[in-house]
Amino acid sequence: MGIRRRQVGIAVTVILAAVVYVMIVGMRDTMVYYYTVSEIADRQQELTGEPLRVAGQVMAGSIDSDDSGLFHRFIIEEGGKQIPVVYRDVVPDTFQDEAEAVVEGKLDADGTFQATFLMAKCPSKYEAATDYPEYREAGVVAPAKGR
């Protein structure tokens, strides 16, 4: 009986060890540093060429897309700093002026962020609960245009 239970124990340990190993290797190979725009702007030299993930806001009016919809330039800003971004794929529907965006990719030598991944936040489904006091103060939702 004892021998067989030890066999089960060994099998369990092997499986767990294998999974932990795969996880460690997976992390090592795929993890990216996550910075805000202002954090990157301060450390631009050392971060050039490193896989990075950057969060910020799309600067209003900065989106420049070509006709194909597969090449986009825009500026991501946060904390007073700005970084130009180039993205060569279809953008999500939520990508627009002042959208909160997260990009993943690398900074190139001239300080442009070459993005391989772009995520823009859905128009909020859930407002911050703290909006309510301001809401009440401001009092009005922007009226609908031409209705």
Binding site: I15, M31, Y34, V90, E137, V141
Partner: protein, 656 residues
């Protein structure tokens, strides 16, 4: 109405609190009157919360924009159905929906069991009402659905057009029916632990609850994937987004529980483990709700950071403390006498099944929380994305697939070599042949070959089980094969329904493997008449149209697909521009042509109206339809499992 809703919410907090106090006190002091009172308070809370919900629905339906929530989530010009679905479109309303479903479930559980489990039920009520009180408290103190604006705006902000379609409208209630459903098994687990009545009778009672909750969660996960595929236009169906993961994690642990509980019922083993699984499932549901609303990890599902986060964290901590604390307390009574006897046995297979599912859940949890963990430990936030999740989960889930074939057929206690041969020769052959075939076709990706080989293996075991079972019935009872199949299934719903569920999983595995490895992609900017090739298709751009459709501006590209130089069908990838009140919202309308072999998936990414040119991104996604078919088969199997036995309903609830 506004005041009524507000008052009902506040009152329900009181009745829920009273229910908790009365139930626990009544149970500790053995006072049936107090227990009864506690149960009545459950019904009262239910009535109050539902009334509050009805009030909010009324306010939404009648365009009462002086209510902040209505102004933020609804608009006068919206279709009526979506005004109602705005109930769960925003934070406060979704919390109210959570509470509504919870109280309905609590009331049903209370009524169903009013003559049963007398020692447990007070604690069940207390647990349900504590949870309900939490969600109501969030609304009363933080995110109030009935908050008013100082000045009533003339119109509301409306709902994002992406959410204004039937599948998306039904998605949250669907998911909540799943998430919230796991509260009841959790409540019973707490009840059993708190009362010390640790025999298996309560397992029977929660069996249907667990399966129903699992059923809705499965629908929720699958529909979410399908919606992402059809609506978002990136050619895939699962992005390992934190909110997606939040729905998958409790599903994995609940699946583990659904399996290991069978061992507990048969062999009285794994009792501690099962209770831990139930507590973990519920904790993961709360955690998922927390993740979705707190904004601690960035997600496509934009939920701005709110101060709900700490309250959820607190409730989660309470849940874990009480749950595991009670387990620790009752540990001596929970330990079982039976022990695992062999590696090759059904008990072991189920144990490995559990291990694999729990480990997968852990890996997903780790990856999802990685930014938070790394920031807490190192001060710098780090992320892992789909590559991590895919690399880690693929081997885990392949192992799970293997177990899906082995588990149901392997003998209990200790499988002899002879029994293994009898059970597995044909399926192993099927798997081997499939594997070799794919290798011969030139596929060199180990995971893909294994996925198909294992799928064939598992399908083989299932077909074999039905075949042998029906044959045995047929020869014994003289039934024809189809009838024998039917009666076999209906007599052993859990077993054969389970096989059907597994068959659904196999279909999904095939679909996932096919669409991952064999996916093809291309892009082209075309003038009218020009073509682009993908697979066996030649796609020719026709006209680029711009027109208005009930206020929505549509840009539509007409694309004709040719195969073997013959025109087969036309597809219309489009972009829609919705006139939202504040800024225009654009949606991508993907064109999909789907058959069993593959999906042809067209996205209109850009255009030039003057030239009439269009840029298309084209995907050829093999076998995707099998994912949805698999989902459907899974649901069918679950319905078979859930179907009540005739003898039970005839005897009435008492013999449940």
């Amino acid at each position: 109405m506004i005041e009524l809703g507000q008052i009902c919410l506040v009152l329900s907090l009181a009745t829920a609190g009273y229910s908790v106090a009365a139930s626990v006190l009544g149970a500790r002091r053995q006072l049936p009157g107090l227990i009864q009172s506690g149960r009545n308070a459950v019904y009262a809370t239910t009535a109050l919360v539902l009334t509050a919900g009805a009030c909010l629905l009324y306010l939404l339906a009648t365009d009462r924009f002086e209510v902040a929530y209505v102004a933020q989530n609804s608009r006068a010009g919206m279709p009526f159905v979506y005004k109602l679905s705005a109930l769960w479109g925003g934070m406060a309303g979704s919390l109210l929906l959570w509470a509504m479903i919870l109280v309905i479930y609590s009331a049903i559980a209370a009524a169903q069991n009013r003559y049963r489990h007398p020692a447990l039920m007070p604690y069940v009520h207390a647990t349900c009402m504590t949870t309900a009180a939490f969600f109501v408290a969030l609304q009363v103190f933080v995110a109030n659905p009935f908050a008013r604006l100082a000045v009533a705006p003339p119109d509301g902000q409306g709902m994002n057009p992406l959410l204004q379609n039937p599948a998306m409208a039904i998605h949250p209630p669907n998911l909540y029916l799943g998430y919230v459903g796991f509260t009841i098994p959790f409540a019973f687990a707490i009840g059993a632990l708190a009362s010390g009545r640790l025999d298996t009778s309560w397992l029977h009672t929660i069996r249907r609850w667990t399966i129903v909750a699992w059923f809705f969660l499965s629908i929720g996960v699958t529909l979410g994937a399908q919606w992402a595929y059809v609506e978002l236009g990136w050619g895939g169906y699962w992005g390992w987004d934190p909110v997606e993961n939040a729905s998958l994690m409790p599903w994995l642990v609940a699946t583990a529980y659904l399996h290991s509980v069978m061992i507990e019922e048969k062999k009285k083993m794994l009792r501690v483990w099962n209770v831990v699984l139930i507590i973990s499932t519920f904790a993961l549901c709360i955690f998922g709700t927390f993740l979705t609303r707190s904004g601690i990890v960035s997600s496509v599902h934009a939920f701005t950071t709110s101060n709900l986060g700490p309250m959820f964290a607190g409730f989660l901590a309470l849940t874990l403390a009480v749950g595991f604390g009670l387990v620790a307390l009752r540990l001596p009574e929970l330990k079982s006498e039976s022990k695992l006897e062999a590696v090759l046995s059904r008990e072991s297979s189920f144990l490995f099944n559990n291990l694999v599912l729990v480990v997968a859940c852990f890996a997903i949890l780790w990856g999802t929380m990685f930014p938070v963990i790394t920031e807490a430990i190192t001060g710098t936030q780090m992320n892992v994305g789909p590559p991590f999740f895919n690399r880690v989960n693929v081997p885990i889930l392949l192992l799970l697939l293997l177990l899906t074939g082995v588990g149901p057929l392997i003998a209990w206690r200790r499988a002899s070599w002879g029994s293994l041969q009898r059970a597995f020769v044909v399926p192993v052959l099927a798997g081997a042949v499939t594997g070799v075939t794919f290798l011969a076709l030139g596929v060199r990706d180990f995971a893909t070959v294994m996925a198909f080989a294992l799928s064939a293996f598992v399908a083989g075991t299932i077909v074999q089980e039905f075949w042998r079972g029906a044959r045995a019935r047929g020869s014994a009872g003289g039934e024809s094969f189809p009838r024998a199949l039917a009666s076999l299934t209906l007599r052993n719903k859990r077993r054969y329904g389970g096989y059907v569920i597994h068959l659904g999983i196999v279909c999904m595995a095939v679909g996932i493997a096919g669409s991952s490895y064999f996916q093809r992609e291309t892009e082209a900017t075309l003038l009218p008449g020009q073509t682009v090739d993908i697979g066996t298709y030649r796609l020719q751009l026709g006209d680029l149209d711009v027109y208005d459709s009930s206020g929505v501006q549509v840009v539509s590209a007409s694309v004709v697909a040719f195969q073997d130089d013959r025109a087969r069908f036309r597809m219309l990838p489009q972009r829609h521009f919705h006139p939202a009140p504040n800024n225009e919202t654009a949606t991508t309308e993907v064109a999909i042509r789907s058959n069993l072999r593959h999906d042809l998936y067209l996205v209109l990414t850009g255009w030039n109206i003057d030239q009439g040119s269009a840029t298309l991104k084209v995907f050829l996604n093999p076998l995707v339809k099998w994912i949805w078919i698999g989902g459907f088969v899974l649901l069918l199997g679950t319905i078979i499992c859930m179907w009540p036995d005739r003898s039970v309903s005839a005897a009435g609830i008492r013999n449940y």
